[in-house]
């Protein structure tokens, strides 16, 4: 799994480095730099071909669009992961709170109903058992 990403990362790094060097050549162009520029241009195409090849290995990878929004805003995309985890934990705690409250309510209701309708509750317990599932 990690190999696929390492491969893509390596190709992207090479591509970025090539672009950076291309930028340096172009920023102060000299006639003697033409051969180097041509080489870099073709290297850029090779780099794009290599990245294209990685696509087949990464077909099953899904990136949430929200993560792209973070990148577009110049923000660290790890903040998205952080917020997702925090939201998941908060929701998890909220749901657990609801379940706990409902469980308490159920046991209280059963005990109170047992006082008022003892016969019926005995029958109910015979069907569902004494211990309510948590």
């Amino acid at each position: 799994m990690a190999e696929k990403f390492d491969n893509l990362e390596e190709h992207l790094e090479k591509f970025i480095e090539n672009i950076r060097q291309l930028g340096i050549i172009v920023s102060d162009f000299q006639p003697s730099s033409q051969t180097g520029l041509n080489q870099k241009l073709n290297l850029m195409i090779t780099g794009l071909q290599d990245i294209e090849k990685c696509r087949q290995q990464l077909n099953d990878i899904h990136v949430p669009l929200e993560a792209f929004e973070y990148i577009d805003q110049g923000r660290n995309p790890q903040l998205y992961t952080k917020e997702c985890l925090e939201r998941a934990l908060a929701k998890n705690e909220q749901v657990k709170g609801k379940i706990d409250t409902m469980t308490k309510f159920k046991s209280l209701l059963i005990s109170e109903l047992g006082k008022v309708f003892p016969e019926e509750m005995a029958k109910y317990k015979a069907i569902h058992g004494d211990d309510p599932p948590s």
Binding site: L41, Q73, N76
Partner: protein, 244 residues
């Protein structure tokens, strides 16, 4: 209409289980006024009512005198009752991202990337969203440039105009780091004797003192040991206690 009714009637007849009394109290059936005196429901009617409610009870179980009684949910289902972060082994990720402060800027995530990457992509049209919404029109494959095609890339000699020199602009943070490294050895004031007039420097120095830190830690530990509320659990856990 009668045909439909008869087919339904026929089906319910065929599917009717032996215990008609059990099906008589289907979940979709409204409670009659006198449940104790209620006569056993005929199998035809019970079958019809059973079709309405998909959550039928086990055949053969008599749930008298209860109406609308359903099977209790199986306790093995994964619900919010369990700590899902622990369940999916995401504690490491949680501690990594939520335990410490994650730096805000994109350049902190991709420090090796040249150029100004912290500015919004909409400004210079480099946003990923625009790439998705309007994909570039291009062919299916990348082919190398031949000699004739390369003639289109003959450039004028000389430096680029200022506004196009984006590749050399680096985030300011990197620059300041670089400056610090260079200035430290040339600094006329030795680092051991900071001037009293600079309170910020003094404060920083105090915090950096390792002995002082150690003493503070020991004091804290002692306090925690003696306090009755000492939980003995590290604070970085994702509230694992509350969800177990």
């Amino acid at each position: 209409m009668t045909e439909i009714f008869s087919t339904l009637f026929g089906q319910s007849d065929a599917q009717a289980p032996p215990s008609s009394a059990a099906l008589g109290f289907g979940p979709g059936k409204p409670p009659p006024p006198h449940p104790q005196s209620a006569a056993p429901v005929p199998p035809q009617l019970s079958g019809q009512l059973g079709d309405e409610g998909p959550t039928a009870r086990k055949p053969g179980v008599i749930n008298e005198p209860f109406y609308l009684l359903r099977e209790l949910p199986v306790g093995n289902d994964l619900t919010g009752n369990t700590n899902l972060i622990t369940h999916y082994n995401l504690e490491h990720a949680y501690n990594k991202f939520c335990g410490k402060k994650v730096k805000e800027k994109l350049s902190n995530f991709l420090p090796e990337l040249p150029g100004m990457i912290d500015s919004p992509g909409v400004q210079d049209g480099s946003s990923l969203r625009s790439l998705i919404e309007k994909p570039p029109v291009c062919g299916n494959s990348f082919s190398p440039l031949t000699g004739a095609l390369l003639t289109g890339f003959r450039l004028h000699t000389g430096p680029l105009p200022e506004q196009y020199r984006l590749m050399h602009i680096q985030p300011p943070k990197k620059k300041s780091k670089h400056k610090h490294r260079h200035h430290r050895p040339q600094d006329p004031i030795p680092p051991e004797t900071p001037s009293d007039s600079d309170p910020k420097k003094k404060k920083k120095k105090r915090d950096d003192d390792p002995e002082r830190k150690k003493k503070k830690k020991d004091k804290k530990k002692k306090k925690n040991r003696h306090s009755p509320d000492h939980p003995g659990i590290t604070g970085s856990q994702p509230n694992s206690n509350s969800l177990r």
